[in-house]
């Protein structure tokens, strides 16, 4: 479909797609018992069946797009807890996304969002440079303590004053690591593309290095296409269908050029998007199926393909629990693999925390735009972490890491928050396997 269709037609398409979902809703109210946002807000406008109802009224023309409609539609974490529990098989998050796209198509994209999604993320270098500058500032300030006056500047950028940020990378992972990383264990078993995600590239560079070290150490060649861009998750979540589509098409074409046997991802949302969401943006074709079929979450890939033996692993004295990122557990069905990897490591004392798979409230940019609610949701997570009596929380999603670490710091709680692959790499390094 290369034909240009009019904006009105496109808006209509989004509504029709939303209708396919909300028409299945039986209005039973079960979503009330699982929705993290509803639990904090206590108003049915914000629960899945309420959003389905709003969508129905928009379609029937009984309701116009009002500020309150937009507010309601923006109160969604895309955590998929409602769809995982819905007796009628509705995916309310798809209704929400379609409505966000519908509203943007009708009303246009806010210039600030257009600047970020269509210029900065697309060009990429301004973001990389910006992160480096902030990263240097962070180093000079020796971190930003709770009383640091710099906090008064945060609201200028849309952030809460209370918020604690991770150290941003002065040198991005993509500039530290070569494009082609050869196998360190003989002939390469496979050629693997690595989609670092923005966070792996610009914040959690140790995660990116861990991924590369583990894979090359066990005999895989890892290719990190330097031209990869954002996968589009924050863009599509913020209503910009067109911007997300452009990014998805770019990455799809780019990775296909490298003749890869598999594509691994260390960020839960990127993984879900490259496996599934991409199908909403790019027309179905054998090439697309081949592409999506090759994408693996890193935990999933290691579990399935690498035969890690006890002698490969060094002892670590960690007491760990695991938090399920929504886009891994419900988005990709990855639940056991990261736990199995952790439990395999000698010395690791693993405790399953309560409600491990409930959303931590970060939800990408939701925790920027709706900080107070996202912290309220996260407070339950902190309680469960503290109850588990561990000194480390392992997970597989950068925004979960960021949000949980931020709120743990606000609670003066000492647990470290890390990616499972980092912990695994620690153990493999301790045994000099990699």
């Amino acid at each position: 479909m290369n034909m240009k269709i009019s904006a009105t037609q496109e808006a209509e398409t989004h509504l029709l797609e939303a209708a396919k979902e909300f028409q299945k809703c039986m209005q039973c109210g079960k979503c009330r018992s699982v929705c993290p946002v509803f639990k904090e807000m206590g108003n049915e406008l914000y629960v899945a069946r309420g959003k389905n109802k709003l969508a129905e009224k928009l379609v029937s023309g009984e309701l116009e797009i009002t500020q309150r409609v937009e507010d309601a539609i923006n109160e969604c974490l895309n955590c998929k807890t409602c769809s995982a529990n819905c007796p009628a098989g509705v995916s309310p998050e798809h209704v929400v996304l379609r409505l966000r796209w519908y509203i943007t198509t009708k009303k246009g994209l806010h210039f600030f969002k257009a600047l970020i999604f269509r210029q900065l993320l697309w060009r990429k270098w301004p973001i990389t440079l910006g992160c480096a500058i902030v990263g240097i500032a962070q180093k000079l300030l020796f971190g930003i303590g709770p009383k640091n006056p710099v906090r008064h500047l945060f609201p200028l950028f849309g952030f809460s004053k209370r918020r604690n940020f991770p150290q941003l990378a002065i040198r991005s992972a993509q500039s530290q690591l070569p494009e082609i990383n050869r196998s360190k264990a003989g002939q390469a078993k496979m050629r693997i593309g690595y989609f670092t995600g923005c966070a792996g590239n610009l914040i959690y560079t140790n995660t990116a290095k861990s991924v590369v070290d583990i894979l090359t150490g066990f005999g895989y060649e890892v290719v990190i296409p330097k031209k990869q861009k954002c996968n589009g998750t924050p863009v599509l979540a913020n209503g910009d269908y067109e911007g997300a589509k452009r990014l998805m098409e770019h990455n799809f074409e780019l990775f296909r050029k490298y003749d890869l046997d598999a594509i691994v991802v260390s960020c839960s949302s990127c993984g879900m998007s490259l496996k599934k969401e991409i199908k909403v943006f790019i027309d179905d074709s054998p090439e697309l199926s081949e592409f999506t079929g090759k994408v693996y979450d890193i935990n999933e890939f290691i579990e399935q393909n690498i035969d890690i033996k006890p002698e490969h692993l060094g002892e670590l004295d960690y007491k760990v629990t695991y938090h399920d990122p929504c886009h891994m557990v419900r988005g990709q069905g990855v639940r056991d693999q990261p736990r199995d990897l952790l439990k395999m490591i000698p010395g690791v004392d693993f405790t399953e925390m309560k409600n491990a798979d409930t959303c931590c409230g970060s939800a990408g940019s939701y925790c920027i735009t709706h900080y107070d609610t996202s912290i309220k949701i996260n407070n339950h997570k902190i309680e469960d972490i503290q109850d588990a009596g561990v000194d480390m929380v392992a997970t597989g999603c950068p925004t979960c890491v960021m949000h949980i670490a931020d709120n743990l710091a606000q609670h003066e709680s000492k647990e470290d928050v890390r990616f499972v692959v980092e912990i695994l790499a620690d153990s493999l390094r301790a045994a000099k396997t990699i």
Partner: protein, 462 residues
């Protein structure tokens, strides 16, 4: 709604507990039934006193008030038929007192039913009524609808566990009815009138519920039949053998096939009926009861009978039943879930009658439900946008109600009358029955302001 009234509501409930925006009114215009009417304001109560002040205001200003729990009702009970104010009770969720020695718990009426068990389990107690909606309905809503559940045969329904309650009457008076004592005959058995009152007579704000010790052991089994009669005969024979299963769930061929299409749960597609049976109690007695069931099932030519040995086994046996509603929901865009109930001895006639009605009107129906207590859920599957199909289904539903009445049964076993079954109540209880309900309503709510127009009309409305 007039600004002065809204201001007064804000003064009573606080700003964050009053909604008036159009979008919010849409959010509170419906429940799990099919009607839809927007209120003019929604208020969230947090104390009994607030509810009392609201009713005084409503009586002074002549504003209809409709109580609402979590809006999971299947008969439209919480829909504000005459607009006015929706009184949401779901922020009154405190546990007031847990009294293990008297096996009682006192809670605010807005508490979610499934929040009770984790609290009382610490003293090895449980609250038996377990509607399918335990996790998304309130105790107040359960009492207002006299909700039942899977364990009705052995453990009864909500009315069997309501001990005492605090109620705000329509004109604002606060009364406490019933007692914490096991025996209590001081005055009329007034608390019983509020059980099943569908929010027409008063607003429950606090309730004391009785609890039972958690059975030590549970046995679960699945029996498959190639004939409906054999399944029905099994149900009667089990009871005749002196066994009282805690659960005896039934599913028909249409439901079995919907389940298998939805997800392979290992049910044979040609089976005409399956029964899921559980016994519980002291370990030996639960096992002895199951052994008797085993005999009865075999003598009725079940094609298969399996007793679960482990929890995983049990989960496997129940997998089909758990997804039954989901599976039926996926067959067609919409469904109408009914709860017509007969005595268990009439079950085969009822099932055959329903299938016959569906065939005559060419509509699709899946039947599952609680065989032990005769409470079936004939679930009509349709596309409401198809007007012809909708009309045929409505006709079939009407006949279903008449069938239940003709078999000495009831048009509603647990979902209540509300709006959905209001036209059929007369056939069930007759003119004198309706008049008694009207008189009781008139005594308590002379202006007919509390949930008006539900269950029956008042004389001047007709």
């Amino acid at each position: 709604m007039e600004k002065s009234v809204v201001d007064e509501l804000v003064a009573i409930f606080g700003k964050e507990h009053v909604l008036t925006a159009n979008e919010d009114m849409i959010a509170y215009s419906y429940d799990a039934a099919h009607a839809e009417i927007k209120p003019e304001a929604v208020v969230f109560a947090t104390t009994t006193e607030q509810v009392s002040q609201l009713m005084k205001l409503a009586y002074r200003e002549n504003i209809p008030v409709t109580p609402r729990g979590q809006g999971s009702g299947l008969s439209g009970g919480s829909i504000p038929l005459q607009q006015g104010i929706v009184l949401a009770m779901d922020r009154m969720t405190r546990v007031i007192e847990f009294d293990p020695s008297n096996r009682l718990i006192t809670v605010e009426a807005g508490i979610t039913t499934s929040d009770i068990d984790p609290i009382v389990a610490e003293a090895n107690l449980f609250y038996p009524p377990d509607p399918g909606s335990v996790a998304f309905s309130t105790i107040g809503g359960n009492i207002a609808e006299n909700a039942g559940g899977l364990r009705g045969l052995k453990y009864g329904v909500t009315k069997d566990y309501v001990q005492m309650m605090k109620v705000v009457l329509p004109q604002g008076d606060i009364v406490t009815l019933g007692s914490k004592c096991v025996k209590h005959v001081a005055g009329f058995n007034t608390e019983a009138i509020f059980v099943g009152s569908e929010g027409l007579l008063g607003i429950m704000t606090e309730v004391t519920l009785s609890l039972l010790p958690i059975p030590q052991h549970r046995e679960s089994a699945l029996a498959i039949f190639d004939s409906l009669d054999n399944a029905a005969q099994t149900v009667s024979d089990i009871i005749a053998a002196g066994v009282t299963p805690s659960t005896m769930e039934f599913m028909d061929n249409e439901t079995i096939n919907a389940i298998q299409n939805f997800k392979d749960c290992g049910l044979p597609r040609d089976a005409q009926a399956v029964l899921l049976i559980e016994t519980d109690g002291e370990e030996n007695s639960a096992k002895a009861e199951m052994a008797k069931i085993d005999e009865v099932v075999r003598s009725n030519n079940a094609t298969e009978f399996s007793i679960a040995k482990t929890t995983e086994d049990r989960d496997k046996l129940f997998a089909g039943r758990r997804v039954a509603l989901n599976a039926l929901a996926s067959v067609k865009p919409n469904l109408i879930l009914e709860d017509a109930t007969v005595m268990r001895s009439k079950l085969p006639e009822m099932v055959r009658g329903i299938i016959d009605i569906a065939e005559r009107h060419q509509v699709k129906v899946g039947i599952f439900g609680h065989a032990g207590d005769g409470n079936l859920h004939p679930t009509f599957l349709l596309d409401m946008k198809d007007e012809d199909e909708k009309a045929r289904t409505d006709e079939a539903v009407k006949e279903l109600f008449q069938l239940a009445i003709d078999l000495d049964g009831t048009i509603s076993g647990e979902h209540g009358i509300g709006l959905e079954k209001k036209p059929f109540l007369m056939n069930q209880i007759g003119g004198a029955g309706i008049k008694l309900l009207q008189d009781i309503k008139m005594t308590l709510d002379p202006k007919n302001l509390l949930n008006p127009g539900k269950m029956f009309d008042m004389p001047q409305q007709v």
